[in-house]
């Protein structure tokens, strides 16, 4: 087992990893940027090193600064968290060649699964259901037109190296397709340095359901249930829940086994998530693999009673997983809301600044994963998430009632947050019915 881990991240995920390290008797080392010097999570790390100025390019994204710290702090592993360098194959390679364990899959896996086109090809080989679409990249407009008419409109053009909703264009007809094809390529070139695109069928109003995977290097790959993340805004998840309101044990087993097969074929180790889209008839289609631990991993922890960060660290250290597939049983219901420092009344404009006071909800079935405290200034340099508020209850309705209660108790003074939006969602008739899709927030709830 590792004796010292460097956490190449900040905020709530850095705190989450520190907590796992503390329970495992592992020393934690945090790197931080100048603007994060008062970060409350730094107070519980064993060692901290200021590595650069605020801009991520010169701090959290700067591989040489992180490796220099790894060297002086003499760590044996690095946890990349999520975002930043978590899915950077080159960073994983640098760790490898420095003799430091990267707590994540191999660089080869990251490259294979991180590229949408090669991930699709792997999924086809693994027999995982996919949306009708191209196996290879689409090189010309003429090709795009032919493919789209084969698949049948509507279709979506997607960047192979893409993510975060960029480099994508939906088309309902040929004219829109040609425009979309050219725009997607241009946007992809700018955003990802790679203008390759592929085309697939576009599902109207799908649900986003993802499977949590945990794998060790002894041949064990376990799926830890699913998470329904259909409530999104601009491709950013707002609310996540487990189990999915439309899930059945049979469908879960089918999706879980498909996710496991894909990861097995890829030679995957540690934590990962396989994302699927579901149509109205309960058919599931592979979307992509996230080769990292995710923000919403806590939702799965609550319904399966696992500690995914500890399991991830164990797997990275070459140990066997602390649970088997038989141990993982989905019980009860968990919901997570992401509280962002944004003004929902001003088109979600970021609202950084000093948190003047803070009252955290508590009592039965509440989990608060956050790095903030009263007197902490949310910096403008990084993402706007200030907290994850989770509830757990025996049934979905009780979980919704509990979340309403928790949101009512929660007070974050001094900045604008998305708390009012979450209260709205928890009282929304369609959300309560379990009848939402990935367009619901933008097209229905916010349009009201």
């Amino acid at each position: 087992m590792f004796s010292k881990i460097l956490i190449a991240n900040r905020g709530e995920i850095a705190l989450r990893v520190i907590r796992a390290c503390r329970e495992m008797g592992i020393k934690s080392v945090c790197v931080y940027s100048d603007v994060d010097k008062h970060g409350p999570w730094l107070e519980v790390a064993d060692e901290t090193y200021c590595i650069g100025p605020g801009p991520s390019a010169k701090s959290y994204l700067d591989i040489s600064r992180i490796m220099a710290t790894a060297e002086v702090a003499d760590v044996d592993a690095i946890h990349p968290g999520y975002g930043f360098l978590a899915e950077n194959a080159h960073f994983a390679e640098v760790c490898q060649s420095s003799g430091i364990a990267f707590i994540g899959p191999s660089p080869e896996c990251i490259k294979l699964l991180g590229n949408k086109a090669s991930a699709r090809a792997l999924a086809i080989k693994a027999g995982v259901p996919l949306l009708p679409g191209t196996k290879d990249l689409v090189e010309t407009e003429a090709e795009a037109i032919e493919i789209a008419s084969d698949i049948g409109y509507p279709v979506i053009v997607k960047a192979a190296s893409g993510g975060g909703g960029r480099g994508m264009r939906v088309a309902h007809n040929e004219i829109a397709l040609v425009n979309g094809y050219l725009q997607a390529r241009a946007e992809a070139a700018l955003a990802f340095g790679d203008d390759s695109v592929y085309i697939e069928k576009f599902l109207e109003r799908p649900r986003h359901v993802e499977i949590q995977i945990m794998a060790d290097s002894h041949g064990s790959i376990v799926y830890c249930g699913e998470r329904d993340c259909s409530l999104q805004r601009k491709h950013q998840k707002l609310v996540e829940e487990a189990p999915s309101p439309i899930m059945t044990p049979k469908l879960r087993a089918k999706m879980g086994k498909a996710a496991v097969k894909l990861c097995k074929d890829a030679g995957y180790v540690t934590a990962g998530t396989v994302e699927f889209l579901l149509d109205k008839n309960g058919n599931f289609f592979f979307m992509e693999v996230n080769t990292r631990i995710q923000v919403e991993h806590c939702v799965s922890e609550l319904v399966t009673r696992t500690d995914l960060i500890q399991a991830q660290i164990m797997a990275a250290a070459g140990e066997k997983l602390p649970f088997t597939q038989e141990d993982v049983e989905v019980r009860g219901h968990a919901i997570e809301v992401r509280i962002n420092a944004e003004d929902p009344d001003a088109d979600f404009r970021p609202s950084p600044g000093m948190i003047t006071d803070l009252f955290i909800p508590g009592g039965p079935g509440i989990r608060w994963d956050s790095h903030v405290k009263a007197g902490y200034a949310v910096p403008p340099n990084y993402d706007s998430m200030v907290a994850k508020l989770l509830v757990f209850a025996p049934t979905r309705m009780e979980a919704i009632i509990r979340m309403r209660r928790a949101l009512g108790e929660l007070k974050i003074g001094g900045i604008k947050t998305t708390i009012p939006l979450h209260q709205k969602i928890m009282c929304d008739a369609n959300f309560i019915k379990g009848d939402v899709d990935t367009g619901y927030i933008e097209n229905v709830l916010l349009a009201k």
Partner: protein, 148 residues
């Protein structure tokens, strides 16, 4: 690890008034922890209390010479500070030396790359706050310079 070894460890603990001992060898690990005599049962909590962050080098804010009116030369990176190019050479600068913007004042080494650091200020070295072999962080003050 047999009973004799464990008994010997306990003896060592008592002789040296140790409360906790951890021994790791060849894939085996043993940790012995004493219960406090006469106190209520103590639930062993490992590393429970938040520890103040261990600064990489002596905390710069604490009991430093007054920096009023003095210019600072800060480290631009995490690494190891060296006052000279190599152990045989004289230091780049000493207290009382005049420096200008382009004067090399030290080396900060990271990942086997030796970076010469320039003063970037003009004046005389008033004090040197670190010594060769110390770990420095980004932004850490290494020299205080009296402006001309």
């Amino acid at each position: 690890m047999d009973m004799e070894e464990i008994k010997r460890l306990i003896e060592l603990m008592n002789e040296n008034e140790l409360l906790e001992v951890e021994l790791v060898e060849e894939g085996k690990k043993i940790r012995l922890k004493k219960k406090f005599e006469g106190a209520a049962k103590v639930i062993p909590m490992q590393a429970a209390m938040p520890v103040a962050p261990v600064a990489a080098a002596p905390a710069v804010e604490a009991a430093a010479p007054s920096t009023e009116g003095l210019l600072e030369i800060k480290s631009p990176m995490v690494g190891t500070f060296y006052s000279a190019a190599n152990p045989e050479s004289p230091p780049y600068c000493e207290e009382g030396d005049a420096v200008s913007a382009d004067t090399s004042v030290c080396i900060v080494e990271a990942m086997k790359v030796f970076n010469e650091i320039k003063a970037e200020v003009e004046g005389t070295i008033a004090s040197i706050l670190v010594k060769s072999g110390d770990t420095v962080e980004y932004g850490q003050i290494m020299f205080l310079v009296k402006p001309n």
